[in-house]
Symmetry: C2
Subunit: 137 residues, 2 copies
């Protein structure tokens, strides 16, 4: 079960690193295909799943139900501020919220608390441009 290094995996990792915000597996695949590589869709999904599993990438569900991925610069636990128009993403710390979540959970008898905390909005650029639709990077 030893992992092997393939140009496909590297390509996916590189493409993720080049993205400013979250991207879907589909759009990553499309981009890689456009770059001339003959990479397969299934391979992109597998590579992304691996990256997410090893903690090298974060993933979240878009409001539309798609799985989005991102290579995060900040290691460890953090949250995201995401532009719902261009998907530009800013990593944010939220110690305040960590404490709140933990306190709230235990005050209701819940254990093993985890939380999903993401803020969506329109970034400065999209606000200025009045961009109404979502653009997939």
């Amino acid at each position: 079960m030893a992992k092997r290094n393939t140009w496909q995996r590297d390509s996916v990792r590189d493409a993720l690193d080049d993205s400013a915000g979250f991207v879907s597996a589909q759009s990553l695949h499309a981009r890689l295909r456009d770059d001339g590589t003959g990479i397969g869709l299934a391979t992109v999904y597998r590579a992304l799943a691996d990256l997410a599993a090893t903690g090298d990438a974060d993933s979240l569900q878009s409001p539309e139900g798609e799985s989005l991925y991102r290579a995060c610069r900040t290691p460890g636990h953090h949250h995201h501020l995401i532009c719902r128009s261009c998907l530009l993403t800013v990593e944010i710390e939220a110690d305040e919220v960590e404490v709140w979540a933990q306190r709230t959970a235990s005050s209701h008898g819940f254990t093993e608390a985890a939380h999903i905390v993401d803020v969506f909005g329109l970034c400065a650029a999209c606000t200025a441009a009045g961009t109404a639709e979502r653009v997939t990077p």
Copy 2:
């Protein structure tokens, strides 16, 4: 475009009200079918979408990508504390988090901020029962 009252819509609303936690459209449909009603799957989806649109129900995406619905007792904006084993749900207030989200968004130039804040854990009962399910880090 006047809305009509049909027993189907009422059934969906009632079934939602009877649920302690979030449920998927599929399982709601299955339950209604088992109750002898010949309700259609598409109708359940439509009714749930309507309820969510009018604010009579809340919805969220399960970590597996399914859409889950719930008839919430608290009107207005609130968040949820959800047992990841039995889906028991507690509605929680989070003024603290509202403020934080708004402040964080605007400090990064983001406008029209909305946020997804949900806490997952194991409820007291499931913790005691040792119900071990998947892990959501």
